[in-house]
């Protein structure tokens, strides 16, 4: 006797409502064993592989790659306990039916054609089938974060956006995943938030010295970022208007007690902003350790949902890619964002005498609905002072 | 700027300088009619004639010894020792005579002369061709020891050497003669002695090398990126005079250092670099300065030289140890 088992899309993140089918790892008729990966699903936070709950044969797939399914929707129907007709394991390997151009594309994208279900007549694999099946890189999973739910987090696939290979053709891909999320958030921010921005350059000579000293103590990986976070957290403590959020519809302002600093991190798939919680209550050493963990997790797309939530203010570091200054966009519902450029030597007057000093370019943007120009200026001045003389962080 | 191989750059430099100054002459074994066994002097005979481009008998001692006499007579001679390993046969002249001639005459005579020689191994040469003897000549006061690693430096340093009032031992990385290519400035281009070159910037550590080993260091630095290590590569360019300040400044910044050379470990010039760093930069060092060198054994027959010479792998290992402990 056999019965049908429906496997529904689980909630793979904290309160996430939907998931996008990235690629099927199985096709109808395939025999699968328990814990064999069935499908890759991308959420706003990451790409996860969903394993089979049981041994059986796939009877039906709940969607095509690129489809977005709500949590709870049927993902796979499988026939369990009793078997069903499937491909015999001894069947000779048969040539995949696909045109040379399609086969070449599969090689270029690293897709194993044998594992792609063709949508053409008689199962002929088309170019589109290969594009949707463009597989993730076969590297081992970073950490079994959701193991209790049978969910594994894997590194993200390479983006297939942009020019195909310089041969002149344009390739169109659907807006999905992190990129879609970034697009939505930034559109909202730029349309709704009236930005005001304060630019300044801070004499960072002491900051540079402090970092060198701290590096000796805390290890060679110690960067400026923990110092920026500590300084921002300290400044926010004195300027609560910047550590706030606005609900325009409800016409309420929320002032946050804790300083939860988002750190903008560029990944291959788009911007990810893990949050360092309670930055105002942590030591530099703690901040440094957490920073490093969060950064690495973001880069490998192993950030947990929880780690990206609850930010009250964001820091972005243009300096890490050599930039001087830029105009950062506030992440709603936060009230502000600070950006830091590359520290560089410059000749500036010091007590009317030209001197070579290290300069840190700094920018702070605020939501003008909550923060006025002078309030922003005072916050920026405080922040600049803390960075110019990091000893004050001890105060 | 023209892209040239090292041997082309050397040939062009000799050609240009002989055209500029008719006191300049070249002498050595097989350098005139054959154009040198590496063709570094090819074409000179046709243009400058047999008086200034001279095939000498096979005798390193008299090649160097007569060159000293030629210099005192007012010529600007450039002698070629066919392989550095044969310099042993001229050691008494280079070490005891040429270098100290100015000193011995209390400044009355200098010896404005250059001894060019291919340097280093890695080309499956027969026995005794490939010995890296540079440290032995560094111990000969009065002599300058110059070791270019790129074609453009070969030009700039060779021109400087020819014009230097003191004798210069000019060691050319043999393996790089046709391998190393880069843009060589045209015209009267000199590189001053005693100024090292940052062959590659880096922040986490410094690889110090000269001559052919610079390329090894650069390849190692490239590989170290995979370990997240940003390695600076310094090309010392001249061992005498040594750019102490440049060396010390660099290592004070990166705090870690590995020295690479083809010569055997003990009392190699790497020992001098290490000693200098511990004298001048001791309090900046985060780790012991490491050396990647040949072992204290004779240079082997051809096939074994890959085991003997410093390799990229060995440099990478040493660098990792230095950075990560």
């Amino acid at each position: 006797m056999s019965r049908n088992l429906e496997f529904c899309l689980p909630d793979v993140g904290e309160g996430l409502g939907e998931g996008e089918i990235v690629a099927w790892r199985v096709g109808v008729g395939d025999r699968v064993v328990r814990d064999q990966v069935l499908v890759e699903v991308e959420t706003d936070k990451s790409i996860v592989e969903l394993p089979s709950p049981s041994e059986g044969v796939i009877a039906e797939l709940g969607g095509k790659p690129g489809d977005i399914l709500p949590v709870g929707a049927v993902l796979v129907v499988m026939t369990v306990a009793g078997g069903s007709p499937g491909t015999s394991p001894d069947a000779p390997p048969q040539r995949v039916l696909a045109s040379p151009a399609t086969r070449k594309l599969a090689v270029e994208l690293g897709v194993d054609l044998a594992r792609v279900r063709g949508s053409g007549p008689g199962g002929r694999v088309r170019k589109e089938d290969v594009l949707t099946a463009a597989a993730p890189e076969p590297s081992p999973p970073a950490a079994p974060t959701f193991s209790e739910r049978g969910v594994r987090v894997v590194p993200a696939r390479k983006s297939t956006c942009g020019e195909a290979d310089g041969e002149g053709t344009v390739e169109r891909v659907p807006l999905r995943g992190v990129r879609r999320r970034v697009a939505q958030t930034m559109t909202r921010a730029w349309q709704q938030i009236p930005h005001i921005t304060d630019f300044r350059e801070v004499d960072a000579t002491r900051l540079v010295a402090a970092r060198l000293r701290l590096r000796d103590r805390l290890g060679p990986e110690f960067t400026y970022l923990p110092l920026f976070i500590a300084a921002v957290a300290a400044a926010l403590g004195r300027h609560r208007a910047l550590n706030a959020s606005l609900d325009a519809e409800a016409e309420t302002i929320t002032y946050h007690r804790g300083c939860h600093i988002g750190i903008a991190i560029a990944t291959d798939d788009g911007l990810i902003v893990p949050v360092l919680h309670d930055a105002d209550r942590k030591s530099l050493a703690q901040i440094a350790v957490e920073c490093s963990t969060l950064t690495q997790a973001a880069r490998s797309r192993a950030v947990t949902a929880e780690q990206t939530m609850g930010g009250t203010f964001t820091i972005t570091n243009f300096g890490s890619y050599g930039g001087w200054l830029g105009t950062p966009v506030i992440r709603p519902p936060e009230a502000g964002i600070a950006g830091f450029g590359r520290i560089h030597d410059a000749v500036i007057p010091v007590e009317s005498v030209p001197a070579v000093r290290a300069l840190l370019p700094m920018v702070v943007a605020a939501d003008h609905r909550l923060v006025d120009g002078d309030a922003l200026g005072r916050f920026a001045a405080d922040l600049a002072e803390l960075l110019a003389d990091p000893v004050l962080l001890l105060a | 700027m023209t892209v040239m191989t090292m041997v082309q750059a050397i040939r062009a430099t000799l050609f240009e300088e002989m055209g500029r100054d008719d006191r300049v002459m070249v002498l050595g074994q097989d350098i005139a009619r054959l154009g040198g066994v590496f063709r570094a002097t090819e074409g000179l005979l046709d243009t400058y004639g047999p008086e200034r481009v001279v095939d000498t008998p096979l005798a390193e001692g008299v090649i160097v010894g007569s060159t000293l006499g030629l210099a005192v007579a007012g010529m600007v001679p450039i002698a070629e020792i066919q392989f550095f390993g044969f310099a042993y046969q001229a050691f008494h002249q280079i070490g005891a005579q040429v270098g100290r001639f100015r000193f011995r005459t209390h400044g009355r005579f200098g010896a404005q002369m250059t001894i060019r020689t291919p340097f280093g191994g890695g080309v499956r040469a027969p026995e005794l061709h490939s010995d890296a003897l540079e440290a032995q000549f560094v111990q000969c006061p009065g002599l300058k020891v110059v070791m270019p690693a790129t074609a453009s430096d070969a030009k700039g340093l060779l021109l400087e050497a020819i014009r230097d009032p003191d004798p210069v031992l000019f060691c050319e990385p043999l393996r790089g003669y046709r391998l190393l290519k880069d843009e060589v400035p045209e015209g009267d281009y000199t590189v001053p002695f005693g100024q090292l070159r940052e062959a590659r910037p880096g922040t986490d550590m410094t690889l110090v090398a000269w001559s052919a080993a610079v390329q090894i260091a650069e390849q190692a630095a490239e590989r170290l990126i995979n370990d997240g290590i940003s390695a600076q590569v310094l090309d010392l360019r001249t061992l005498v005079p040594l750019d102490i300040d440049g060396l010390v400044r660099a290592v004070e910044r990166t705090r870690r250092c590995v020295v690479i050379h083809e010569a055997p470990l003990s009392a190699g010039f790497g020992a001098e670099v290490v000693a200098t760093l511990q004298e001048e930069a001791f309090y900046s060092l985060e780790a012991p300065v490491a050396r990647v060198t040949a072992p204290d054994t004779p240079y082997p027959l051809a096939i074994a030289e890959d085991l003997y010479l410093p390799s990229v792998d060995r440099v990478v290992d040493a660098a990792r140890m230095t950075v990560k402990g």
């Binding site: - | 006191r23 002459m25 008086e51 200034r52 001279v54 000498t56 008998p57 005798a59 001692g61 008299v62 160097v64 010894g65 007569s66 060159t67 000293l68 006499g69 030629l70 210099a71 005192v72 007579a73 007012g74 010529m75 001679p77 008494h92 002249q93 005891a96 005579q97 100015r102 000193f103 011995r104 005459t105 209390h106 400044g107 009355r108 200098g110 006061p141 009065g142 300058k144 230097d164 009032p165 003191d166 002695f193 005693g194 005498v240 005079p241 040594l242 102490i244 300040d245």
Partner: protein, 348 residues
């Protein structure tokens, strides 16, 4: 191979002797030899008092060096010496006080004057022969008419550099006179143990140039033979190897004890061939020399030697700067640092 000799030990000329020195030149030659002998004795005495360093006396070989140097034109010709050729250097213009200065160990006192064409005294045997060949070759390349005489001994002829240099000299036809003074000894090694050949000069033709044997204690013969070689060189005919047969009457150096190996009988033979006596007899016979002349000469020479010693000793002793000043044309930062560090330790 015949040995060229003009002057008998009794001061008479042999048949066919072609003396090319005038009477005045012969007198000057005699005075030069006597000066050298006096300076030698004085230097020996000073060395025994600890006021002089180790040096090699020329006693017995004066004619070889005086006669050959008198064939040169100091205004254009060069001497590349070994270390025993004091009369040649004095004749060429090197002041006696500088000679003393060198063996006193003070480089500043030994500095070769600008108008004296000579290489410094060479302690390493035979290494100067390649220098001399290169120098001669270079003079020709530069279009100058000067030639080079290179002095070395029977011992140096065993060095590789002798062979390498002769070989190159022959090939490039260098205007050089290779003057081998065979004084019988290399320290304690007798001539028979330096070569099994009958002469050294016979090697010349194997390199493509003439070799001549001359009585090294015969001022006139040495001078004539050298003059011919100089003329050959100046005419572009290339090198000549001259073997001057002479005898070292003193020790190898002041540190040597020749009684341990020299046979007194052999020495006595050579004493009879003394180069100075011979010329004195020749000039006496010509009526150009007598006891009075000798007395005057000896007095003059004594004063000259005293003055030279005094001048050599007057030179300030070297300081730390002297170690560095002429090591290179200009000092590198590293050498400046070494000099400064050393200066702080050694008060000037």
């Amino acid at each position: 191979m015949e040995i060229i000799q003009f002057l008998n030990t009794d001061g008479t000329l042999l048949d066919g002797a072609e003396v090319r020195l005038s009477d005045e030149q012969a007198l000057a030659g005699l005075r030069l030899m006597m000066l050298a002998r006096a300076a030698d004795r004085r230097a020996m005495s000073l060395q025994r008092q600890g006021r002089f360093g180790t040096f090699g006396p020329v006693m017995g070989q004066e004619a070889a060096f005086a006669g050959s140097a008198m064939a040169l034109d100091p205004a254009r010709d060069w001497i590349v010496p070994q270390y025993r050729e004091m009369p040649a250097l004095l004749h060429h213009g090197y002041p006696l006080e500088c000679w003393f200065g060198h063996f006193k160990g003070n480089a500043a006192a030994a500095e070769i004057p600008d108008d004296v064409r000579m290489f410094p005294i060479q302690i390493s045997l035979a290494v100067q022969i390649p220098h001399a060949v290169g120098l001669a070759w270079g003079l020709r390349l530069r279009g100058l008419s000067g030639i080079v005489i290179c002095y070395f001994g029977d011992g140096a002829s065993s060095e590789g550099d002798f062979h390498e240099a002769c070989n190159l000299a022959g090939i490039v036809k260098a205007p050089v006179v290779l003057f081998l003074s065979d004084n019988g000894w290399a320290i304690s090694t007798p001539r028979e143990k330096q070569t099994a050949g009958a002469t050294f000069a016979e090697r010349g033709p194997t390199y493509g140039f003439p070799g001549i044997v001359v009585d090294g204690n015969d001022l006139f013969a040495v001078h004539a033979v050298t003059l011919e070689a100089v003329e050959r060189a100046r005419a572009g005919l290339g090198p000549t190897l001259i073997e001057a047969r002479t005898y070292r009457m003193g020790p190898h150096t002041t540190a040597d004890d020749p009684t341990r190996y020299v046979d007194p009988a052999e020495r006595a033979v050579w004493e009879a061939r003394d180069p100075v006596d011979r010329v004195q007899r020749y000039l006496t016979a010509k009526g150009l020399w007598d006891d009075a002349a000798e007395e005057t000469c000896v007095k003059e020479i004594a004063t000259e030697v005293d003055d030279a010693v005094e001048a050599a000793e007057r030179h300030a002793p070297p300081g730390v700067d002297d170690l560095f000043e002429h090591a290179y044309a200009s000092l590198s930062p590293r050498l400046r640092r070494q000099r400064d560090a050393l200066s702080r330790r050694v008060p000037s």
